[in-house]
Symmetry: C2
Subunit: 415 residues, 2 copies
């Protein structure tokens, strides 16, 4: 574990900040009247990288002046490494760049954060053993909860990139077809079992046009975001056989505004749960590729205080993002810059570490009691759900900002 | 049914051409040394629309000079209608534009065809009753072959846009995980049951950001392409539970080079199979929205003549593309210009009209005999598969060009 790297931005040296010099996450921000531009968070500030490229302090083919990190990602890993190295030097305590850079710091409190990248395509996986077991128990057969392929394949399905939104975007409760087992025919209306999924998203920065190895996949991942994959369980239960989740997962997926780079997370690599069956060669992981990141979810009813409802860790993943990406390419499927791979719901072994309300309330049978005294089986209108994540170093932590969504009532049903 | 519209391009007046003046399909082509540009097929020629916009004969905000139809689609339906009207006038027999336009005709035999549009996201449906029944019988339970939701929901799943390729692109047989029921553990290697799916793709030309009605969806569809959704059945059988097809469908999806517009297909609207259960209101179709399009598939072994192996019709669809699109938006899922909706495999009631080899050979139990005397259960290396489609008017037909793919051997397995 490396120590805190000290910066001349004093707020970046606090043990409380999510954004010490060790982090340098990438986002897109704007200030009043300005256009969205690339920046990095440092302490309670944002360093305006577009302005630095404009001023000639940084030189990355103009990519930092765009309102998205896609063009920068397309420059390739050596350039990713160069930017991180240059920023680390420029922002370090004692750097002689302080005078120049100070003019390009914007207080985070004065900035609006936008989608940090354009999601090219979005894939969601199913990679935490406890989540797969829990959901299998409820949706299918408790005796055979884990699907037979699960210990062999990083099971995934394609999601809907157009529905990915940045933290802070309101989420409108979806309408959809549902049918309870006791009902004769389906009905159409607001989902009654609207849920969250605590996930991480891995962002592909290096394209490929054929199968790649797990090692190549690891190097192709630019960084990670927090991800809440909103899920309408009642729509899901009725629609998902035989072709998988579709409209139940297409309302919104909220991501954190900051991309934490793989480079920043490198000191936090760790192994996941014990492997129960040997994997096929193409999924061989030459080193641990999962990260030790504490995750939590809070729920705040309209106008009330938040309660921490879930505490989990990214190390509950049975498959790493690198394994998922390698599997994703195994058929020859081309991957492009800006593709996002959702980890799948990150549930741990304890009840309090289950990554969805479906699991926390065991399908609604055991409602949670919030600190406010209210209970929840699923998300209610007006609820604000917030995901947080932090990798803990020695005297510092690395965070993603918050991944927030407030649920608004469903639209009226019209035809 | 309208009659043939005669053109001064003589080859467009033949009863045999796929591209009479009634059609005017949109594609992207290049000639030696030139860059890809927008064109329309007329008889055995391509009219260079980029050159016409350059010359000021057409004026569509420069969109025809791009190498894709996406920018033009984004102009909106009134502009779609205006281009079609202007081209119909310019190319009509007796038009005084003949002298000007003749210089901008390129023989199709001299042109290379490219992807006609950039696929933003790709969704595939499951909308022919006979296909759903056949596959359900083989993959699941013959007694309950049709999933309980099937008569209520246009079942779909998200596919992989990056894998969509234009006609003529070779298709490399995928490797993947498979496990026969008799095997203890899965293995990784070339798919032994590589298959085709005869489909049509509907292209979204008008974006939406919330639920739309079936009528709005009908108007949002810019046009249609032929589509072959290559499918690895052995990979699919092992991976698809519980989240649906993934790598089995991610190798390639081949589309025709020409987009036939909804306007050109308007005279061919028809009803599909009888509805067995009433649909929920949000799927109400105020007029018939399926098209009468004859479809066929041929298979040619390496260096040998082709055999017609499948004859079907787009009117086998239980759900129209408009209903699929309306359903797709029901959860609030945003749709964007260039989204493509695959119809699902278009199987009819007769054996010869089943839209996949899986169905034609009944899972390999009843291999087809080709005209060459060879047999096929699934696709073999070196086979060329070709989809064709035509809507038949009075003395003319409207086609899509050919949708061709040749299968190459799998890549060596490496790690």
């Amino acid at each position: 574990m490396t120590d805190l790297k000290r910066s001349w931005v004093e707020s970046a040296n606090s043990a409380e900040t999510q954004f010490p010099l060790n982090n340098l996450p990438y986002g897109v921000f704007s200030t009043e009247g300005g256009s969205p531009r690339c920046g990095t968070a440092i302490g309670d500030q944002i360093l305006d990288l577009a302005a630095l490229e404009e001023a000639g302090v940084l030189s990355f083919a103009g990519t930092l002046k765009t309102g998205s990190w896609n063009a920068f990602m397309a420059l390739g890993k050596p350039e990713w490494d160069r930017l991180r190295a240059e920023l680390t030097t420029l922002l370090a305590e004692g750097s002689d760049a302080e005078a120049t850079l100070s003019a390009h710091l914007v207080a985070q409190s004065d900035a609006t954060l936008h989608m940090p990248f354009s999601v090219t395509e979005y894939t969601d996986f199913y990679a935490a053993r406890h989540h797969a077991f829990n959901v299998g128990s409820m949706f299918r057969d408790p005796e055979n909860a884990l699907p037979p392929n699960w210990l062999h394949i990083p099971i995934g399905y394609n999601g809907r990139a157009s529905s990915v939104v940045v933290s802070g975007t309101p989420v409108i409760r979806p309408n959809g077809q549902t049918k309870a087992p006791t009902e004769e025919a389906p009905k159409f209306g607001p989902s009654q079992r609207f849920d969250i999924e605590l996930e991480m998203g891995a962002i592909v920065g290096t394209p490929s046009n054929g199968p790649i190895t797990v090692s190549e996949a690891f190097d192709a991942i630019f960084g990670y975001v927090l991800m809440n994959d909103w899920s309408a369980r009642d729509i899901q239960a009725w629609e998902y056989q035989p072709l998988g989740p579709f409209q139940s997962k297409a309302t919104a997926t909220t991501i954190s505004p900051w991309i934490v780079t793989a480079a920043a997370l490198e000191p936090f690599r760790t192994t996941g749960p014990e492997r129960e069956k040997p994997l096929l060669d193409y999924l061989f992981e030459p080193k641990p590729m999962i990260y030790d990141i504490d995750l939590e979810v809070t729920l705040a009813p309209e106008g009330k205080d938040e309660t921490v409802i879930i505490r989990s860790n990214y190390n509950n993943m049975y498959y790493s993002a690198a394994q998922q990406l390698a599997h994703h390419t195994s058929s020859g499927c081309p991957m492009r810059v800006g593709d996002m791979l959702g980890s799948g719901t990150i549930s741990g072994p304890e009840k309090g570490s289950r990554g969805s309300l479906l699991e926390m309330s065991w399908g609604g049978k055991e409602p949670l009691t919030l600190d406010t005294g209210e209970t929840r089986s699923f998300v209610e209108d007006g609820d604000t759900l917030t995901l947080k994540g932090a990798a803990h170093g020695d005297g510092y932590k690395i965070g993603f900002g918050e991944c927030v969504g407030k649920v608004l009532p469903a639209r009226p049903v019209t035809n």
